[in-house]
Symmetry: C2
Amino acid sequence: MYPTIAKPGESIFDLSTPLPVIDEARLAANIARVQSYMDASGLKFRPHIKTHKIPSVARLQVEAGAEGINCQKITEAEVFADAGFDDILITYNILGPEKLDRLAALNARISGLKVVADSAVTIAGLASRFANEKPLTVLVECDTGGGRCGVQTPQEAAELAAMIAAGNGLDFGGLMTYPRAKSEAAVEAFFSATIALVVKNGLTCAIVSNGGTPSLFDAHLVPSATEHRAGTYVYNDRSMIRAGHCGLDDCAMHILATVVSRPTADRAIIDTGSKALASDLLGFADHGLIVEYPDAVIAGLSEEHGTVDLSKCAGRRPQIGEKIRIVPNHTCVVSNLFDAMTFHRDGVVTRVETVAARGRVW
Amino acid sequence: MYPTIAKPGESIFDLSTPLPVIDEARLAANIARVQSYMDASGLKFRPHIKTHKIPSVARLQVEAGAEGINCQKITEAEVFADAGFDDILITYNILGPEKLDRLAALNARISGLKVVADSAVTIAGLASRFANEKPLTVLVECDTGGGRCGVQTPQEAAELAAMIAAGNGLDFGGLMTYPRAKSEAAVEAFFSATIALVVKNGLTCAIVSNGGTPSLFDAHLVPSATEHRAGTYVYNDRSMIRAGHCGLDDCAMHILATVVSRPTADRAIIDTGSKALASDLLGFADHGLIVEYPDAVIAGLSEEHGTVDLSKCAGRRPQIGEKIRIVPNHTCVVSNLFDAMTFHRDGVVTRVETVAARGRVW
């Protein structure tokens, strides 16, 4: 009754659309390229599973040499713990009794759970819940210029480190940041200043965790870091091409779409709307790159339609019924829209994987 | 192991976030208000289920007087046929053998299936598949200024109507449009001109279907229409407030969020990112309205974080751990992110419904 996604051996161009597909060769190359850089740089690597939310993809990342994984929410971490992953860093402030209970249950069953905190409120909540439990490792999140979570100064970071170390059921684990791209000097300055203060207090930063895909290949410019986290690199997307991280041929995810209408000479309507491509602009004015028609502009999305402006297309224009491939602006949000992901090699389906942590946003 | 969403009788403010919740009283009032307008206007009403994707909500809409439902994709229609709905209009060009087979199977098991077409290619595909089947009813989609799908002129519409009527397994069912808001005169002009041509050819437009929530209460200004379709009205959202369709107190959907960080005096970080609120801007520069802090601006979203600018907040500012309610820019895409929807009355959970057609984008 419900959609038959795909079967191994089928051509991806025979599949009903819209459908995201992953190129196995590009996936493997992306994993190998980044792991090899991290190895050469003496950095441990911790892939962020938010991009794929699929345990078997994380398995490929760990088999290539990653030390563990990064999750953003507890419910994601639960899915990956179920799948056998043991070294999990949740880079999120965990607050509230329901989440603290889940965290304690998760900490009881895996050995390498770690979380972050950026406030006395978060630390107090953790300390209160873990006082009579197996201790939880907590890192201090630092805002090194990213402008999201994190303490603002090395002094604050050192104070929170001391607070964690003084907590009954808590172990101080080190530092973590999610930086702006190309801000390696600022990250290093923040980290090194904090480490000096923390060491003066008799503590050790066992983990110093830097992150992000866009300037990943500059991770070695942060010598204080012991590890790097990145998610998007595994599939790559249009925003990573623009950031200079990769080329078009490194994008492992395409969304297959069908042209469903050609109302005018300059307009094509495709069957991928915001419920297939997501609406993330990430600074772009349009909604993805059509591989077969690079001069076509996906000018607008409604939920199940994409409106494509063909006015700049020289030569052939797409016809009704024609299938096209789209490189999305942002791959991570596309993964979160689909229950299953179809993998292929040279256009032939290899496997269909459940996106096991899809929708796990708690 | 996985999220316990909510249980009847719990306070919504005790639930783990992020979590979308639906106010039962506002939901009922939205359904009653629009149905009552349609009844008074002599228009049949066909709610679009894309907004909620939940059969029991569509049941409320039909019990209030709606004649049938509107789906955008076959896989949505399959879910609602399974739930017992019989009068379903799929407002989409159906192309390709896999979808045509699904459509034939669906047409064989419900009596009121209807689809639209806006090209000879789509009609030829339908005619070829249904030649030896129970006939399928097909409406012609008209672009009355919306700039998405649809034929451009009444002449083209009449030609396609004749083509459908000549198709072996096809019945011509009438006309359909998805118009721009506040373009009732243009819609009426297109419809009436097309009807005149179609009638001259000896055909009848049994259904003339207009649509859209933003200027829904002007639907009576299109006298040629026999029915109106609308989805968003059932929950409403920030874009519908701006369109003048409703007020803040008519918004039935809120996304519950928790403040997880207060890195600076002017910045709060909440646990709703693009994977909970979606990134649809719909002309706004920010990402939703915080009920408790209307002067706060959700300035940016990453996947699991919302960055809130508090600089314009006079008086009290949100604290770490505090729960807030967000009216999203666009409710329909939020529904598509969550496997379950929590309903409440005065803040007390009444029921949790599976979003049965979530992710059905084929």
